[in-house]
């Protein structure tokens, strides 16, 4: 799993380099969360992406899609050879996810704040269909500044959509700077609790910690939120913890240094 995470980080780095643009910071911070979901937690069939019995995943922070594309490819939804087409004309790998281009995506996202409402709607629909499938929604921490998130949080609790789990990628950095400096969103645990959710904090880069958190959520009597503590740009030292790499493509020297670091961890 750890090797897989490193290979995905390398994919992301190479995809963004080939595209000339993209969002490395917020892609690197969610890699372990996605790997845990797609290899361990979710009930899915890569060869039957629209299988009705599947659990669904909504990437509300759509700009992290390079990581999701790599995960889907390596999980068998499509050929990894397609990954370098990211953001190019005619590519199925749009700059932000388009479900009609690429099967395996459960929604088109990219405009922040909307994924949790979509997830609630799917959870509602599953309940009407008498299905127990779970819905997972990955949110950015800066994204929680959108009011729509909290409208959806109320709905999930009011209708007790307990098959819904939101994961907050708490990397504490957004495009312009530190979340606490731009618009403080803490105390997050208290906020989600106050909205009637079951809340657990996890280390978003530790597979055992994530595994425990997802297990906890499966048994939760309410909709559940995992506050995943992560590092923006995780895995490349000079990208970590800074807003500088929110949406920037590395130059050749930076790419070489980043690739060397990730490859070093791989061997």
């Amino acid at each position: 799993m750890q090797e897989l995470a490193l290979r995905i980080r390398l994919d992301v780095l190479e995809m963004i380099r080939a595209a000339g643009s993209g969002h490395p910071g917020g892609s690197f911070s969610v890699v372990e969360i996605l790997v845990e979901l797609y290899w361990k937690v979710m009930n899915i069939r890569p060869n039957e992406p629209l299988w009705e019995g599947r659990d669904r995943f909504i990437l509300s922070k759509g700009h992290a899609c390079p990581a999701l594309y790599s995960v889907l490819a390596r999980r068998g939804f499509f050929d990894p050879d397609e990954l370098p087409s990211l953001r190019k004309l005619g590519s199925r790998l749009q700059g932000h996810p388009n479900m009609h281009d690429l099967s395996g995506l459960d929604a088109s996202t990219g405009s922040l704040g909307q994924g949790l409402s979509i997830s609630c709607g799917i959870a509602h629909g599953n309940r009407l269909n008498k299905r127990e499938n779970r819905v997972y929604c990955l949110l950015g921490d800066g994204e929680l500044q959108e009011g729509n998130i909290w409208e959806a949080a109320m709905t999930a609790s009011h209708y007790n959509l307990k098959h819904l789990t939101a994961i907050v990628d708490r990397n504490r950095v957004q495009l312009d700077g530190n979340v606490s400096g731009i618009m403080e969103i803490e105390p997050l645990v208290d906020k989600w609790l106050a909205f009637g959710w079951d809340v657990i904090v996890a280390d978003g880069h530790s597979f055992p910690s994530l595994e425990k958190a997802f297990e906890h959520c499966r048994e939760a009597p309410f909709p559940s939120a995992i506050i995943a503590d992560t590092v923006k740009g995780k895995g490349v030292s000079f990208m970590e913890g800074t807003c500088k790499w929110h949406g920037r493509c590395p130059n050749e020297n930076e790419y070489a240094a980043a690739a060397k670091e990730i490859r070093g961890d791989l061997s």
Partner: protein
């Protein structure tokens, strides 16, 4: 034809019938279900009725999710809020994914009256018309509203249905059917073509009678489907008259007048006039008073036609 009935009543009849015929139809409300009347759907189908409170953005996102789970949600609230407050949710979470969501914009137009400018949707058709995949129906009476609800189930992708608050004369019978992309020629005319939707259709018919008394032959098209527009019907009539007056309870920019003007400008330039709200907000007053002040009247339409014919 003159029994008065509010178009919103047709909306409620429509969703009830749709709900009985199709178990995938669900209704999402935003704390105005007793005002619109859709609360009765919740009484008959409590499992398929979701009142999400005053939260338009969440309502539209939820609708997207429900559609992704295989249901056909009707999202109903006041037009001004549903398309204004949640425009990006409609654009990105519904239209971009081309989902089967039906959006009901109640209390459309300045004819809402006493609630005033904040509650009079005058930009909603324009806001919806610019989004790819969206289809727009603006029915003229209660029977046509009911038929619009049912017609929306015959197409894929999102549909916006805009209707008013107040009683209007019934133009259509119970058997009326609406087809998306098709307008109705209500009256033949040789000198001028009046193109209208919603509450302005009845007034355009009155205007045609006024014009007839003045020796002017006016045809009347009830366009119903603002998007896609029935260009075949429009061009056939305009070819004959060469003169068009568009009447709508909406800003003059971006709505039906915009749609007609954009079409004619490309293929059949004509003399054109518009009876609509001219780049201003509404105001409080009785529906009749407000319509009068803003010129949205039968005589206003007739005068516009006469002036451009001169």
């Amino acid at each position: 034809m003159n029994n008065l009935k509010a178009t919103r009543e047709g909306y409620v009849e429509g969703i009830l019938q749709a709900g009985r015929e199709n178990s995938r139809v669900v209704v999402i409300e935003g704390d105005v279900s007793t005002s619109i009347g859709s609360a009765s759907f919740g009484e008959e189908f409590p499992d398929r009725f979701f009142n999400l409170g005053v939260s338009e953005q969440d309502m539209l996102g939820e609708a997207a999710g429900m559609a992704l789970a295989g249901f056909i949600p009707f999202v109903g609230t006041y037009g001004v809020f549903v398309v204004g407050r949640a425009w990006d949710q409609i654009r990105t979470s519904i239209c971009y994914m081309n989902l089967d969501v039906r959006i009901a914009g109640a209390h459309g137009g300045i004819s809402v009256g006493p609630d005033g400018a904040t509650h009079q949707a005058l930009e909603d058709v324009a806001l919806m018309r610019v989004i790819p995949n969206m289809k727009i129906l603006v029915p003229a009476d209660s029977n046509q509203t009911r038929a619009s609800v049912l017609a929306s189930l015959e197409v894929d992708g999102p549909v916006y249905i805009r209707f008013g608050r107040n009683p209007v004369p019934q133009i259509y019978s119970r058997n009326e059917r609406v087809k998306i992309g098709k307008g109705n020629l209500l009256r033949e005319g040789d000198d001028v073509t009046l193109v209208a939707c919603g509450v302005m259709v009845g007034l355009s018919l009155e205007a045609a009678s006024i014009l007839e008394n003045r020796g002017i032959s006016a045809g009347v098209i009830d366009i119903v489907s603002v998007k896609p527009l029935d260009t075949e019907l429009l061009l056939r009539q305009v070819k004959k008259t060469g003169t068009v007056v568009v009447a709508e309870d909406h800003q003059a920019t971006g709505g039906l007048f915009g749609a007609v003007a954009e079409t004619l400008a490309q293929v059949m330039p004509a003399k054109m006039g518009v009876v609509a709200v001219r780049d201003s907000f509404g105001t409080s007053g009785s529906p009749a008073e407000v319509m009068e002040i803003y010129g949205l009247t039968a005589s206003g339409i007739a005068e516009k036609a006469e002036s451009i014919l001169q």
